[in-house]
């Protein structure tokens, strides 16, 4: 097989050439510069930066809070998607449109708005304060911000899968006396499982790299409420390019692994879908 199958349509050379050139210039070459900058470091220097207590603390927070946020969205994302797909209530169309808001809203705006709402004198924060729950300027705040910005990914991953659930199977099972939980476990869950996991991973990936909304609500104390992207910025502000590059490469590698996981999960979902259709 040759590189390209023949076609009567013109413009392949122009569009393919422009695409690959622009992709290389804006995305691939700059990313290669990051990898090279980290590769030119001495191995011991690299480890010194990446395994420093402050870096490890930031990894712990970034991973922990992102995982927690993705888990929260796994639960609430499913509940919201289910509500939007299965129930009719006033304002459903509006809510459905609003789900994408965190995606369209600049992160700096969500950051200052969330901080204001959950500060000790904020609309919600003031009711949490008497219970001893502090959200703003703690890891809880970090988790909350990450939950907000990654929410659309979880909901939008599950919604189309829920539409695919075979209602006739559900009704047949219920007619035959199956309990609702049995139906959920054996008919609904298997259909939406790949989508749920994809949504979880997408939300996790988005949360891991987030910067704008977190830095306002986090308080940014080293070892405690300092996320890894912020630590990269701090290295850069100190003109420690190598330190920034080392942490950047670690995050880049993790992004690639998560991206691979998403692709595998989506392929799994498609395979199951095809098998179910036969």
């Amino acid at each position: 097989m040759s590189f390209r199958q023949p076609s009567v349509l013109p413009g392949f050379g122009l569009t393919f050439g422009f695409t690959t050139f622009f992709l290389s210039a804006i995305v691939l070459l700059p990313l290669a510069a990051l990898v090279l900058a980290a590769a030119s470091m001495h191995w011991s220097d690299f480890v010194h930066v990446v395994a420093s207590p402050r870096a490890l603390g930031s990894f712990r927070l970034s991973f922990g809070a992102s995982f927690l946020a993705a888990a929260i969205n796994l639960v609430f994302g499913f509940i919201i998607a289910w509500t939007l797909v299965r129930y009719e209530f006033p304002g459903r169309g509006l809510i459905d449109a609003l789900i994408d808001m965190p995606f369209a809203l600049p992160t700096a705006v969500s950051g200052i708005a969330l901080t204001t709402v959950f500060a000790h004198n904020g609309w919600i924060g003031r009711y949490l304060e008497p219970w001893g729950v502090k959200v703003a300027y703690t890891w809880l705040g970090v988790t909350l911000a990450l939950t907000l910005i990654s929410m659309p990914f979880a909901v939008r991953a599950v919604q189309p899968a829920l539409l695919e659930v075979r209602r006739d199977l559900e009704e047949a099972a219920e007619t035959l006396g199956a309990h609702r939980l049995y139906v959920f476990r054996h008919i609904i869950l298997p259909t939406v499982l790949p989508a749920l996991l994809t949504g979880f991973t997408l939300a996790f990936a988005r949360a891991l790299g987030e910067y704008g909304s977190v830095i306002f609500i986090a308080g940014n104390l080293p070892m405690k409420t300092e996320i890894t992207p912020l630590l990269i910025v701090i290295h850069l502000e100190e003109f420690d390019y190598q330190g920034a590059a080392a942490l950047g490469v670690v995050m880049l590698v993790i992004s690639f692994v998560v991206l691979l996981a998403i692709n595998l999960l989506q392929a799994w979902g498609r395979r199951r879908h095809v098998r179910a259709a036969h």
Partner: protein, 288 residues
């Protein structure tokens, strides 16, 4: 993000025979949990933006836009979007034509690479350009010798924004053009139309709504980008501060009316983006 089809939604929700008390309870519980969750994490922050912006009255709100630094930030954001969005639109159209109209090896790798910026932290998007063009970066000395500045200046802001918003138009157009197929274009070419004529007369009218949404989304992300721009901008007031960066400065100076006033503009922009998305979906164009 694939949107559900409204017609299918309505049909699903109106299924009869679901009226046992357990169903009713689960139903109300799910609706209540969904609405409470969204009200706490989404609606309250959105309402806060406007409540804080107008906390000292409409006069104070409007006055905050008269501040020269705020006006400069708005101008810079508009300039950046004006350069970045058309370039990324052109790229999106070219990428979609190459990928959707032709079969070639390595296509799925190319699609993955185009999506790459979505998976990468915005801070890393800024970092890579600092490593290349910063004072201690690869081209730093050369740039200084030639009296050029990219980092802490407009070109850096544009590059970082371009990286971050790179995939949006392409992502919107590729699945749409794949779904629409090649038959009409092939007919046009066979009948003697040129490539450009085929594109403008046949393809563009078919994909225009998807293109509109892709451009609007790309624009919203370009105007709202914080992390990547924050790394390359240098935060020089009135000079390299975009709107989101200016929000940060005002907020840290406890100028809440000013900060939330700028934030309210960006919130309105996000709202407009969602309205366009909803309208585009109403035209019958569906993703996936």
């Amino acid at each position: 993000m694939a949107a559900a089809q409204p017609a299918a939604l309505a049909g699903d929700a109106r299924r009869p025979g679901q009226h046992t008390w357990l169903h009713a309870m689960v139903r109300w519980l799910f609706i209540a949990v969904s609405l409470t969750f969204l009200a706490a994490v989404l609606l309250a922050p959105l309402a806060t933006v406007f409540a804080m912006a107008l906390a000292k009255g409409v006069q104070a709100y409007l006055r905050s836009f008269a501040d020269p630094d705020t006006a400069a930030a708005i101008r810079l954001t508009l300039t950046t979007a004006l350069v970045v969005v058309p370039i990324n639109t052109l790229f999106g159209l070219a990428a979609a034509w190459a990928i959707a109209k032709f079969e070639f090896r390595g296509k799925s790798i190319l699609i993955t690479l185009i999506d790459l910026p979505l998976a990468i932290s915005p801070v890393i998007a800024g970092l890579i350009f600092v490593l290349l063009f910063g004072l201690h970066g690869w081209f730093g000395v050369w740039l200084r010798e030639h009296d050029l500045s990219i980092i802490f200046a407009l070109p850096g802001i544009m590059l970082a924004t371009m990286f971050v918003t790179f995939p949006y138009v392409a992502r919107e157009l590729i699945p749409l053009m794949q779904q629409l197929g090649n038959n009409e274009e092939e007919a046009a070419i066979t009948l003697g139309a040129g490539g450009w004529m085929t594109f403008f007369r046949v393809t563009l009218p078919k994909i225009r709504w998807g293109l509109v949404y892709g451009v609007v989304l790309c624009n919203a992300r370009a105007m709202g980008e914080f992390g990547a721009v924050s790394v390359v901008s240098g935060h020089i007031r009135g000079l390299t501060n975009t709107m989101p960066l200016h929000i940060e400065i005002l907020y840290n100076e406890y100028n809440f009316v000013g900060a939330f006033a700028v934030a309210s503009l960006l919130t309105l922009l996000a709202a407009v983006t969602l309205v366009v998305k909803t309208l585009v979906e109403r035209t019958g164009y569906r993703r996936r």
